[in-house]
Amino acid sequence: MGRLVIALSAATCALFVAALTVGPAQIGPGESLRALIAGDSGPLTLVMREIRLPRAILAVLVGGSLGLAGAAMQGYLRNPLAEPGLIGVSGSAALGAVLAIPTGLAASFALGLPLMALGGALLGVVLVVALAGPRGSSLTLILAGIAISALAAALTSLVLNLSPNPFAANEIVFWMMGSLADRSMLHVGIALPFVLAGWVALGTLGRGLDALTLGEDAAGAMGIGLTRLRLTLIFGTASVIGASTAVAGAIGFVGLVVPHILRPLVGAQPSRLLWASALGGAIMVLAADIAVRVILPDRDLKLGVVTALVGAPLFLHLIYKTRREFG
């Protein structure tokens, strides 16, 4: 376990530094890091501190949130297909965020955007958990997810299409696919409190989720309050997914891929999977965000495109493995 944590942390740090040195402006790595740390009033420092640093920080926050939320939901529902993007939580968070922009809530006070996204995510999680039930089958879970995703996507498109702003309709792509391009410290500021609160909440779930692997009755007998566990999960997930989606759009499949890869490495123990997945999520989003800048630097390739290209085949593989349950 110790070795895994060290390896994942080292990879996160290395990718964080790499993310700082990659970008459309051709700056040498040494030069860029010097400008970041030493700093002057020149444009180079501006680029490093106001564009690349917030982007890299957000990749860690968003990736960590997606990985952690995925691991927590999968632990609670005891189903490897539960992923915030697939089951409509990210989609409903995007709907909340989209509603905050034309109504002026996002502009009038700083927390308007993440709070609305959190509200949307909350609605999504509650719906999924209620529809799938505490021990939902894969089929119910995925069908509920499809319904919620489709509804949230349709309403998001509707809001953007009805906006009198001529640019609004093109933003559907951002909300569906996500991006970290040209964010600022302002975005870090609005996401950070919600992300940290959510991380703390989800982090406390470890013991409960471990107990839950033995079944609900056994967990109850071990003194785990299931109602409290469920509420913590719902609010924690809504908080991290809401804040992440508000600043980066809906990025799918991270919460699916990362726990799937790490599960065997932690002996399938939910409590250990939580923190491993948070680090793994940060690694995946940092890597994907480097990829979008290296592969098509001048096309503003969306982050969600890369994560979906990696994640969707794995999703199919998981469905293939669980198809007996579907039959």
Binding site: I51, P102, F167, A168
Partner: protein, 285 residues
């Protein structure tokens, strides 16, 4: 079965109607069209400038919007259309004017119904403004009116260009981080006002998405940004980014109104004049 039958009959009726419409316009002795409908923001304005009295009957709904149209007031005198084949057909036009980006399906449908459609390309340069005016004059049989407008345009442009001071470096930055290079109408407006386009140095001759960090390193002496539309959008939020704010602070910046910039009409002169004022305020310092 009965549904498809009715549909079939409707098709025949439509075809007949189209067939009838053709001879009606072909019989007109005067070759210039008398009932013209325009369905594109830019052709709307060109047509309003060039058309004779009662020749133009309808313009697109976009022409009524003062944010995008330089002739929103004038547009009120015409009927509004939303560029749908059905409503345009019912206006019984003998000529429809569309832009090359107008909906293909609508244009094809109108042609199938026997209505001639003239298609105009957008303007990519100040030269294109003259060309489009001339084309509109030819299309509407109003060549003299068009030539008068061109002469007037040339004279005003000459006056604006005269006394050009030292060149300054400027960059255009729109919503979504879009920029315009030299080979665009906006780039030519910038050039005519006495600015060198900084985006061209970074290889954006035709325009495209200029990454914010590239803009920061270009460090232009003037940053020209788009004017906001109502109801906030994520796309425009980039103009609030600390880097953009920094580039605006302590140096001249301009905003532009889309109505004078998007279409190749003589109204681009207003855009040039506004930019010249920015240029002079910086050069005068």
């Amino acid at each position: 079965m009965s549904g498809s039958m009715r549909g079939f009959r409707f098709l025949i009726l439509m075809c007949l109607a189209g067939a009838l419409a053709v001879p009606a316009s072909a019989d007109t002795p005067d070759p210039s069209p008398r009932r013209v409908v325009s369905m594109n923001l830019c052709t709307d304005q060109l047509a309003m400038l060039v058309a004779g009295p009662d020749q133009l009957i309808s313009v697109s709904y976009l022409a009524y919007d003062p944010r995008g149209s330089a002739m929103a007031e004038e547009a009120r005198a015409y009927r509004m259309n939303r560029g749908l084949a059905e409503e345009i057909y019912l206006m019984q036009p003998d000529l429809v004017i569309a832009g090359s980006f107008s909906t293909r399906a609508t244009v094809d449908m109108l042609r199938r119904l026997g209505i001639p459609v003239a298609i105009f390309d957008p303007a990519y340069s100040l030269d294109d403004v003259r060309t489009r005016l001339r084309e509109m004059g030819d299309t509407l049989g109003r060549a003299n009116a068009a030539e008068a407008l061109i002469a007037d345009f040339d004279a005003q442009l000459e006056a604006l260009r005269a006394g050009s001071a030292a060149r300054l470096r400027a960059a255009i930055y729109y919503a979504n981080g879009y920029t315009s290079g030299d080979r665009t109408l906006a780039g030519q407006i910038l050039d005519a006002a006495g600015f060198d386009n900084a985006a061209v140095e970074a290889g954006f001759a035709a325009g495209g998405i200029l990454p914010l960090e590239v803009l920061a390193l270009l460090d232009p002496s003037v940053l020209i940004t788009g004017r906001r539309y109502p109801a906030a959008s994520r796309s425009e939020a980039i103009l609030d980014h600390p880097v953009v704010q920094f580039l605006r602070e302590g140096r001249a910046s301009g905003t532009f109104a889309d109505r004078d910039w998007v279409c190749g009409t003589p109204y681009v002169l207003r855009a040039i004049a506004e930019l010249r004022d920015v240029h002079q305020s910086v050069a005068g310092e």
